[in-house]
Amino acid sequence: MINHRIELSTFTTLFSLRRNFLRASVVAVLLLLAGGAAAQKPTLTFVPQWLPQAQFAGYYVALDRGFYQEAGLSLQIRHPRADVSAMELLKKGEADIISSFLLDGIKERVFGEPLVNIGQLTQHSSLMIVTKKKRGITKLEDLNGKKLAIWSSGFDMLPKALLREKSIDVEFVPILNTINLFLVDGVDAMTVMFYNEYDQIINSGINKEELNTFFFNDYKGFDIPEDGLYCLKETYQNRKEDLQKFVEATLRGWEYARAHKDYTIDLVVAEMNKAHLPNNEVHQRWMLDKMLEQIKSGDKEVKKGRLLEEDYYRALNIIKRETEDARQMEFPSLNEFYKPLAK
């Protein structure tokens, strides 16, 4: 039994966290201690927003191939644990750079956290609603009055905004992290990531012909980019050069991953084994392929690693609309929020 959305990569619960949650605080302390080691080279700690998986392949590749080292950086990659998110680690100063969804990043900024986006990795939304065909939902409007499973831990803003815009009234069923409720027909539909849970459903024996899918990037104004790189404003001001090197080396890592998929998958699997995470090559390969597609600009006129202005304001709009007391809030301009470091 798990208490976090821990196993993006698998279909099963990983730990009996009934007891693991008791130990979580111990882990946090250990992480703190580990952060102290300093080398001669400037040290950066990067924390991706989730546990090891192909979603972060580019970072592992850049580290393994020595791209960060070549750039003159000593980089450490840490992963968040059950009870401490990447964002929290950033706030606490235990992480210099984190990856986060654009909407989450903006939201944190709006709610007062002094963070900036220093690079936008993916350019598109992977979010989708999936439903079994036997449920008879063939168009978005059919969701009216149906149960839609949605993660309780965030990422709910985009689905809610879309359904509100379409005036579709659904019963949201908050879930933690598995697809099991969907598989046992406890809900009519579920929001999933195309690169992750969608493939888990397929890998649980449901054929894609048995599913109806609604991709958010098919709806105008909802193709919101996801993974971006964030640091505190202060870090940006003090270590701009190091950060730039990090962004460049990271992009290089992703390019290398695109050209060496087998190597990359092996690396990801090794990383997951190190973290004692269930894993399989098939799913990680799927995830890598989808991530590489998301990184491409597609129909958007944007350079690699850059955030498109339109995308920023689209995301901002959604936050404005979905935040109850939006009027009393200050919303940062693009320049305040986004500090492009990618060349």
Binding site: N3, T10, R18, N180, H283
Partner: protein, 642 residues
């Protein structure tokens, strides 16, 4: 062994061999498929038995354990579990049930007491003793967890997907959750979830203990298709049957997986690259809704059959080789005399009738052949002996006939001109017999100084009898003619002499004439002969009158008539036998009187010798090489006068 493809032995053996091989193949195939089916049927039964047995073994552990939370749910609903004894009860439950690793009773928010949102007493094993704690809190929102949310939503018990419990020593676990209800305000409403955590070690052991041949195995997958047990440990909890199907690119494996998670039982075959073709039987664990599969590699299933098949093929091959060898020997022995017979036959054909025949000791067709050969040898020898005798007899006859011909031709005058001293006339004649000796005759001689007797005749029949008859006729003529003065008298005397004792009823057509050399008067008698032609010196041509008299030799008292006619100088008398006019060419056209007359008319000034040889050439031209069927005889007399 050098084999000549044309031998009888080769032909027989090749056909027998082909039929034997076909029969053998059919037999082996029928046997193979029958046995294969039997093995498959047995394996199928075995697989079903094994799988169901294993499932029962698992269920025997699972079902009693599952009863615990179910009973507890009933107890709570019935109010028979006081609130303050929940934790001790759980502790006892865990302690007394070795299969249960931990147990919890998780209440709905504020259900246990209005102050507590989370209330979930939890008893668990820890280093050999049972510890307790309470679950729930802001960092552990159990209401959203599968073990709570799913049975609550479905309103029925739920077996979680298996998971590794790191706290419990990294053992594979599953959680069984049962919803419980309470009456509040007279309404039965959902109150929470009771769980037990079960270690799956024993289950792994049961499944791993299943032995199927050398490399066969059993495996278990969860309701999501995740491998719970598998001989390749790397697959456990990492792979689902579907990711493996995708990795191995085996769509059929995915189909099997889908059938398995849908709870179907089925027997099917699939090719797994590493293990080759395998037979898979799968069935469902009714309690957890997981599925068990048993895998039987074809290679091992049919190993005995395959070995046996090889044995049969090898024995068959050896058998066929021996069969070929001995059949070859036997047929060769049987047919060896044939070759010898063939040699003997060739020698016999070469004339050696006494050649030794192969010795046959068997009493079969060869013996018959031997006998026939022997008989043929003897018959041939006899025949040839007889032939030799006949041939020598024939040769003798032929030489005698040749002599007879010479004699016959010697009897006929053939010196021309015959009377060089008599200037009043000239004559020419020829006789070309069709066979060695002929039946035609001519003759001429002077009776006295002024009378020339000449005659032409044709004996009925041919060959020796005809020639003898002709010789007699001619001899009689010579002896009778000087004594008689008229042709009539000569002919009658001749007729009389020939008719007497003529038992073979031979006869002669006969034309006899006597020319008075001084006067040119001709007296003649025609006994059935075709009339001669009279060629006048002025070019006129005419036949003698057609005779009414019969040939001589038929009736001895027949009275012949005598005719008289006058010839003028340069008149020619042309006599012939029917061999001339009836000479046939290959188109069976006769030379004919018309053509004869034409030739004679065309050459009015020809001497007798020129006329006779001219007609002969003309006839030969006509027959154009066709076989001469009758004697050719001509006699021509020219009268010059004084």
């Amino acid at each position: 062994m050098f084999i000549n493809r044309n031998t009888l032995a080769f032909k027989i053996i090749s056909r027998v061999l082909i039929i034997s091989i076909i029969l053998g193949m059919v037999t082996i195939s029928v046997y193979y498929f029958y046995t294969r089916n039997t093995i498959e049927e047995m394996t199928r039964n075995n697989a079903i038995f094994l799988a169901e047995n294993t499932v029962n073994e698992i269920e025997e552990v699972v079902r009693p354990a599952a009863k615990l939370p179910e009973n507890l749910a009933w107890m709570i609903e019935a109010g028979s579990l006081p609130k303050d004894s929940v934790l001790p009860f759980l502790t006892k439950l865990v302690r007394h049930n070795p299969t249960v690793y931990a147990s919890a009773i998780a209440f709905e928010p504020y259900m246990f007491s209005p102050e507590r949102k989370f209330f979930s007493p939890y008893a668990y094993r820890n280093n050999g003793k049972v510890d307790t704690t309470y679950l729930g809190g802001e960092n552990y929102n159990y209401f959203l967890m599968d073990w709570y949310q799913i049975p609550k939503t479905l309103e029925r018990p739920y077996w979680s997907e298996p998971y590794f419990d790191e706290g419990g020593g990294n053992v594979l676990m599953t959680t069984y959750s049962v919803p419980f209800y309470q009456r509040k305000n007279n309404k039965r409403q959902f109150a929470g979830i009771i769980t037990i955590d079960i270690s799956l070690d024993w289950l792994t052991d049961i499944v791993n203990d299943v032995e199927i041949y050398e490399t066969g195995y059993a495996f278990l997958i969860s309701s999501n298709g995740v491998y719970v047990t598998h001989p390749d440990h790397g697959n456990i909890m990492n792979e689902t049957i579907f990711t493996r199907a995708k990795k191995l690119d085996k769509p059929k494996m995915r189909e099997i997986g889908r059938d398995m998670i849908r709870g179907k039982s089925n027997l099917t075959s699939i090719n797994l690259d590493s293990r080759g073709d395998v037979l898979v039987y799968h069935t469902r664990l009714e309690s957890t809704e997981w599925a068990l599969g048993v895998v039987y590699p074809h290679k091992e299933m049919y190993a005995n059959l395959r070995e046996f098949n090889w044995l049969i093929v090898i024995i068959g091959f050896i058998g066929l080789t021996l069969l070929t060898f001995f059949t070859f020997r036997i047929i060769n022995n049987l047919t060896k005399p044939l070759t010898k017979f063939a040699k003997s036959a060739r020698k016999i054909a070469g004339g050696n009738f006494n050649v030794a025949l192969p010795q046959i000791k068997t009493n079969d067709e060869m013996q018959e052949l031997h006998n026939s050969f022997e008989y043929m040898q003897k018959a041939l020898a006899d025949y040839i002996e007889h032939l030799k005798e006949t041939t020598s007899a024939k040769e003798k006859i032929e030489s005698e006939l040749r002599i007879a011909k010479e004699i016959q031709m010697g009897m006929i005058p053939h010196i021309f001109p015959p009377f060089p001293s008599i200037s009043e006339l000239d004559l020419y004649a020829m006789l070309e017999p069709a066979k060695e000796v002929g039946g035609d005759l001519y003759d001429f001689f002077l009776i006295d100084d002024k009378h020339l007797c000449f005659a032409i005749g044709d004996v009925s029949g041919k060959g020796v009898p005809a020639s003898l008859f002709m010789a007699v006729t001619r001899t009689l003529l010579r002896s009778l003619a000087p004594k008689q003065q008229s042709t009539k008298a000569i002919t009658e005397a001749l007729n009389k002499s020939l008719s007497v004792g003529n038992e073979s009823s031979m006869f002669v057509t006969f034309f006899l004439a006597i020319l008075d050399i001084e006067t040119g008067e001709i007296r003649y008698t025609n006994a059935g002969h075709n009339p001669p032609l009279l060629l006048r010196g002025n070019g006129e041509i005419s036949y003698f009158d057609i005779t009414k008299d019969i040939p001589v030799g038929l009736f001895e008292d027949y009275t012949y008539s005598e005719m008289v006619m006058q010839v003028s100088p340069n008149d020619r008398i042309f006599m012939y036998t029917d061999g001339i006019t009836e000479a046939e060419n290959q188109q069976e056209e006769l030379y004919g009187e018309k053509r004869l007359k034409q030739f004679l008319t065309a050459n009015p000034s020809f001497e007798p010798s020129e006329l006779v040889t001219g007609v002969e050439e003309d006839v030969k031209k006509h027959v154009d090489g066709n076989v001469q069927s009758d004697d050719l005889t001509m006699l021509c007399v020219i009268y010059y006068g004084r």
